[in-house]
């Protein structure tokens, strides 16, 4: 399994202000599988994403990314796991404004302490080609549409060959048609690169484009049936 979440709970706040954001959550995502976590605002979607990405420590439970139990790691260890094993696709894509699309991808190489070389550039261009952004490689984020920014974000997330993709509301800033294209693209990339992906979304219309879905409410998960669209 690329992601194993075992009995994870997360309590936020103190005293009377305590909120149980995640309540004994257990789930698994296999390589090449796109799992959607659907739920309303405040249900615990982003908390689940944060603990799976090592951005927040759970109150209890264990999380494995690949063979690494990230709940046992310190801050530096979590930074390494995020750099080497996890790819993030953020809401609004979160690209750095001063970097071109190509540089957004090459940054992940530089973060690993390497100076990007020809092979890295070639790989980045292949990924950009796969997401339909090859011709936009020299553009900066301000020159891209919302959909293009998301595509660039997906390519960046795949650049470090992660074992896990964590995808945060990728369609929230897009219209229905573009949203469907992005989720379809994500699923295709997960299959092609055999990457496990956990996508949180509030949009049930996207479920027909994912492999599996779970519903989250008050921090608890419930498996859902998905009926696939013609992929």
């Amino acid at each position: 399994m690329s992601l194993r979440v075992e009995a994870v709970s997360l309590v936020l706040g103190d005293g009377d202000q305590q909120v149980r954001a995640l309540d004994n959550v257990t789930l698994k995502v296999a390589p090449g599988e796109l799992l959607a976590v659907v739920g309303p605002s405040g249900s615990g979607k982003s908390s689940l994403l944060a603990v799976c990405g090592g951005l927040r420590s759970p109150t209890s439970g264990r999380i494995h990314v690949g063979d690494t139990e990230i709940t046992a790691l310190n801050r530096e260890g979590l930074t390494r796991v995020r750099r080497d094993s996890i790819g993030f696709v953020f809401q609004q894509s979160n690209l750095l404004p001063s970097l071109t699309v190509l540089d957004q991808l090459l940054l992940t190489v530089h973060l690993r302490g390497k100076t990007p070389g020809t092979a890295d550039r070639d790989r980045a261009m292949v990924l950009l080609q796969q997401v339909g952004m090859e011709s936009r490689s020299k553009r900066r984020p301000a020159e891209l549409s919302g959909g293009e920014r998301q595509r660039a974000g997906i390519a960046r997330a795949l650049m470090s060959s992660p074992s896990l993709l964590l995808v945060d509301e990728p369609t929230s800033m897009l219209d229905q048609a573009r949203g469907q294209q992005i989720v379809s693209l994500l699923r295709g990339q997960c299959h092609e690169h055999q990457v496990a992906a956990l996508m949180v979304t509030h949009d049930p219309d996207m479920l027909m484009y994912v492999d599996r879905a779970v519903h989250i409410a008050d921090g608890r998960l419930k498996e859902m049936e998905v009926s696939h669209a013609a992929h």
Binding site: L55, R83, D84, I86, S98, L99, L106
Partner: protein
């Protein structure tokens, strides 16, 4: 500096403005160091050029060339001490005078013994001793129109001095050019009656037993304790040549003023850069969180941030220092003789280093903020 260099290219306007501030501060610092060097040189160049290690004055907590009076026993006593290479009487009096064209002159008259280690070399004309009333003038006076052969008459005492030589460089004290006379002529002008002794008479011998200070050339092996013992025995107070600069009242004020301006500039530039990088960091908080979420360590981001500050500083310094040196050279070339301006490479380099250090300290202000950013913010705060 993957992100830093791209930020510099992307936010050109902001970084250009900040670089301009650094360049202007560097320009002012460098120009002031030229002024500082010039003031020091102009003020006490006579002392700097003198081949002495120490000056010995009449015993005083705060001795000055002007007020000091030493006698023959003192300079002969110093000469007899072990470790003393040379001990020579030096006369020092400030005079006003006029040349034969009735042009007023203000200068310091130094009395030295021809042939002694204090005897001043000349670039043109003759050395001291060729003529009984001959004087060697500082280059500064020659630049101001005084020529070899000119007769300078001292006000009040009416002693006439004939210019016989000119030094190669400026020899000043308290910004006034030095005239080097023979020690007896200085003693006559300083202690004798106006107009000199009556015809056919000589000044009493006692007049020739006094000078202002004892110029010393001491062996490096001579310890402060040995110097202090000599002072106690001879009734003198001895200062190193560098410490003797402080005997010029203007010297301390000038050096302090320029140093204070430079210190304020350094502090100002540190604060400006600190504020700039702090605001820049605050504006980039979301980006820093994002890069951390992607796996950047604090060390990576700090290297990137300080590298950016270093590039900005080095660029600004290169432009500012370069322009200041060029305009300083042009200023010196067109300014009138005696304008106190002199670049010393070591001083210029030191000023630049101070600014660099101050700028990096300013840039480092944002370190705490960078390390405090949580990668969690990449997911957004309100969900």
């Amino acid at each position: 500096m993957f992100i830093a260099l791209r930020d510099l290219a992307y936010a050109k306007g902001r970084f250009f403005l900040m670089g301009l501030v650094v360049a202007l501060v560097a320009y002012l610092m460098t120009f002031l160091s030229g002024l500082s060097g010039g003031l020091i040189s102009n003020n006490v160049s006579g002392l700097i050029a003198a081949p002495v290690t120490h000056f010995s004055f009449q015993y005083d907590d705060r001795p000055t060339f002007r007020a000091s009076l030493v006698d023959r026993a003192m300079w002969e006593g110093w000469q007899a001490r072990t470790g003393v290479v040379h001990a020579e009487p030096l006369g020092h009096t400030t005079f006003n005078g006029r040349n034969q064209r009735d042009e007023p002159l203000e200068f310091v008259l130094w009395g030295v013994r021809p042939g002694s280690f204090l005897d001043v070399p000349v670039a043109s004309g003759n050395r001291l001793g060729a003529e009984e009333n001959g004087v060697v003038i500082s280059r500064l006076l020659a630049d101001r129109g005084v020529k070899i052969g000119d007769i300078i008459t001292l006000d009040r005492v009416l002693t006439e001095l004939k210019v016989v030589g000119v030094t190669a460089d400026e020899r000043n004290y308290e910004h006034a050019p030095i005239l080097f006379a023979t020690l007896p002529k200085w003693q006559e002008a300083t202690y004798g009656p106006p107009g000199g002794p009556p015809p056919g008479e000589k000044l009493p011998d006692v007049v020739f037993d006094f000078a202002s200070s004892v110029a010393l050339d001491l062996q490096p092996t001579m310890t402060p304790e040995q110097i202090a013992a000599a002072d106690t025995d001879l009734g003198t107070t001895t200062l190193t040549r560098e410490a003797s600069f402080q005997t010029s009242p203007a010297y301390q004020v000038e050096v302090f003023t320029v140093a204070a301006i430079q210190a304020f500039l350094v502090v100002t530039s540190a604060v400006l850069l600190g504020a700039f990088f702090l605001i820049w960091t605050i504006q980039r908080t979301a980006e820093i969180g994002l890069v951390k979420a992607l796996g950047a360590s604090n060390g990576y981001l700090l290297r990137d941030s300080l590298g950016q500050a270093l590039v900005l500083l080095l660029g600004g310094l290169a432009v500012g220092v370069g322009l200041a040196v060029l305009s300083g050279i042009a200023f010196k070339a067109t300014a009138e003789a005696g304008t106190p301006f002199q670049f010393q490479p070591a001083t210029v380099a030191l000023s630049a280093l101070f600014l660099l250090a101050a700028g990096l300290i300013g840039g480092a202000v944002s370190i705490r903020r960078i390390t405090a950013v949580e990668p969690l913010i990449a997911l957004g705060r309100d969900r």
